[in-house]
C-alpha cells in the first residue's frame, strides 16, 4: 500500500458535491425540526395530560430507536401499503431525498423538543408575571418573552444536537443518497482506495463541524447579547 494523495485531489470536486448535499440535508431538516419541536415542547411543558402522553410516546420512540431503523421504516416501510402508493404522498415518499429529510426532521425534533422544554420551564417566573402585568396576550408573551429567552438558554445544548445530526446525516448514504459518505463509497467502488477517500471524507466532516461550532458561538453572542451590554459599556 502506498498512500495515494492524487486520488484525493482527483475526486475532490465530487466529494464537495457530496458535502453540499450533506449541508442541504442537515440544514433543511434542522430548520424543519426546530419548527416542529416548538409546539411539541410547549405541549410537554403544559398540563394537558392526554396530549402530553402522546408527545412523550413520540419522543420516547424517536430517542429510543436507532435512526437507521427510522429511515428504513419510512423509505422501505411506506411501500408496503397500497393506499400510500395510491395517495398523493407517494411522489414524496418514493424519493430517498425526502425520506431522509422526514426521518432526520422527526428524529431531531424529538431530541430538541426535550431540550426546549427544559429551557421553557426555566424562563424566570418574574419575567412571565411582568408580561402579564403589561397586559400581553398569551401569544405575544410566547413570541416576545418566552421564545427569545428559551432560545438563548437552549443554544449551547442545541448546537451539540445539531453537530450530532451532522454526523447522523451520513446514514442518508444507506438509502442511495450521494452525501459525503455516499459519494465516498461510490468513488471507492471505482478506485478501491478506501483509506484515502474515507480520510478525505472524514476531514470534510471535521471542517464542517468546526465551521458550525464557530457559527453557533456567534449566534449565541447575538441571541444572548443582553447579557454582554453592560460589559461593553464599561
Amino acid at each position: 500500500m502506498s498512500w495515494n494523495w492524487s486520488v484525493i485531489w482527483e475526486y475532490l470536486p465530487r466529494l464537495l458535491e457530496g458535502a453540499w448535499l450533506t449541508l442541504e440535508l442537515v440544514g433543511v431538516s434542522g430548520i424543519l425540526g426546530i419548527l416542529f419541536a416548538v409546539p411539541l415542547a410547549f405541549i410537554r411543558a403544559s398540563n394537558i395530560t392526554f396530549l402530553k402522553a402522546l408527545v412523550y410516546g413520540y419522543i420516547f420512540f424517536f430517542r429510543g430507536t436507532p435512526l437507521l431503523v427510522q429511515i428504513f421504516l419510512i423509505y422501505y416501510g411506506a411501500s408496503q401499503f397500497d393506499w400510500i402508493k395510491d395517495s398523493f404522498l407517494w411522489p414524496v415518499l418514493k424519493e430517498p431525498y425526502w425520506c431522509a429529510i422526514i426521518a432526520f426532521t422527526l428524529n431531531t425534533s424529538a431530541y430538541s423538543a426535550e431540550l426546549l422544554r427544559g429551557a421553557i420551564q426555566s424562563v424566570p417566573k418574574g419575567e412571565l408575571e411582568v408580561a402579564d402585568a403589561l397586559g400581553m396576550s398569551p401569544l405575544m408573551k410566547i413570541r416576545t418573552v418566552i421564545l427569545p429567552r428559551a432560545f438563548g438558554m437552549v443554544l449551547p445544548a442545541y448546537s451539540n444536537e445539531f453537530l450530532l445530526m451532522l454526523k447522523s446525516s451520513a446514514l442518508a448514504s444507506t438509502i442511495t443518497l450521494l452525501d459525503i459518505t455516499g459519494m465516498a463509497r461510490t468513488i471507492i467502488a471505482r478506485t478501491y482506495t478506501p483509506l484515502e477517500i474515507f480520510f478525505a471524507a472524514g476531514m470534510m466532516y471535521l471542517v464542517i463541524a468546526a465551521v458550525l461550532i464557530g457559527l453557533f458561538r456567534l449566534l449565541e453572542l447575538r441571541v444572548n447579547r443582553f447579557k454582554y451590554i453592560s460589559r461593553e459599556g464599561q
Partner: protein
C-alpha cells in the same frame, strides 16, 4: 403484525446486537480509562495523541468509522502482510471490524467522561497515598478507581444507550445483527414496515433494559443514597 415465522430470526439478530454492544463496551471502557490518563498526563507524547484521538473521532460520523475500519482495515492488513511476501486478498471479519469501530467511537466519548471524573478527585488524595507509601499503581487501583466509577456511571450509562443504537450501523457491513435480519425478513416477505417496526420495538426493549441496569448500578455505586434498613 405477522412475521411469517421470521420471529426467531429477529431474536437471534437481537442477541448478536447485544453481543456487539457488550464487546464494544468492554473494549471502549479500557480505551476510555487509558485515554483519560493519557489526556491528563503532563507528557505531550501522551496528551497530544489522546486529544487528537478524541477530537477527530467525536467529529466524524460513526458510520464512516465503521466503513473505514472494515474496508480500510483490509487494505491496511494487506499492506502489512505484503512485507512477509503474502500478496493475496484479505477480508476483515465483520464482527471484529464492527466491534473495533464502535469501541473506538465509545472510547472517545468515555475518555471525556473518565477525564471529568478523574478531575473531580482532589489531588491531595494522590499526595496522601504517596505519603503513606503506596505506589502510583496501588493508588490508582485502590484509591482512585473505586471513586471514579461512581462519578462516571451516569455519563457512561448515557453513552451505552448511544452505543446500543449505533450497533445498527454494523448491518451496513453485512453482520447478521437485528437490523440486518429485519432487512432479510422484509425482503423475503415483502412486508418491510412490519419487520422494521418489530426491530424498532426490540431496540426500544433493549434500551429500556439498559436504562434499568444503569440506574441500578448508579444506586449500587452510592451506598449513602440507599435507605437505611429499619
Amino acid at each position: 403484525m405477522d412475521l411469517e415465522g421470521f420471529g426467531h430470526l429477529l431474536l437471534s439478530g437481537a442477541w448478536v446486537t447485544v453481543e456487539i454492544a457488550l464487546c464494544s463496551l468492554v473494549l471502549g471502557l479500557i480505551i476510555g480509562i487509558v485515554g483519560a490518563l493519557a489526556k491528563l498526563s503532563s507528557s505531550p507524547f501522551l496528551y497530544v495523541p489522546a486529544t487528537l484521538y478524541t477530537t477527530i473521532v467525536r467529529g466524524i460520523p460513526e458510520l464512516l468509522l465503521v466503513l473505514t475500519i472494515y474496508f480500510g482495515g483490509a487494505q491496511f492488513l494487506m499492506w502489512i502482510s505484503s512485507f512477509w511476501g503474502y500478496e493475496g486478498y484479505i477480508e476483515v471479519n465483520a464482527f471484529a471490524a464492527g466491534v473495533t469501530a464502535l469501541a473506538i467511537a465509545f472510547g472517545a466519548y468515555s475518555t471525556e467522561v473518565f477525564r471529568m471524573a478523574l478531575l473531580e478527585i482532589p489531588k491531595g488524595q494522590w499526595e496522601s497515598a504517596q505519603a503513606m507509601g503506596l505506589s502510583p499503581r496501588q493508588t490508582f487501583f485502590r484509591i482512585i478507581v473505586p471513586q471514579i466509577w461512581r462519578l462516571a456511571i451516569p455519563g457512561l450509562g448515557n453513552l451505552f444507550q448511544v452505543l446500543l443504537k449505533d450497533t445498527a450501523l454494523v448491518s451496513v457491513i453485512g453482520l447478521n445483527e437485528l437490523m440486518r435480519q429485519a432487512a432479510v425478513g422484509s425482503a423475503s416477505t415483502k412486508q418491510p414496515f412490519d419487520f422494521y417496526l418489530a426491530a424498532a420495538i426490540l431496540y426500544l426493549l433493549l434500551t429500556l433494559i439498559a436504562t434499568g441496569i444503569s440506574a441500578w448500578l448508579e444506586k449500587l455505586s452510592k451506598p449513602e443514597m440507599r435507605r437505611a434498613k429499619a
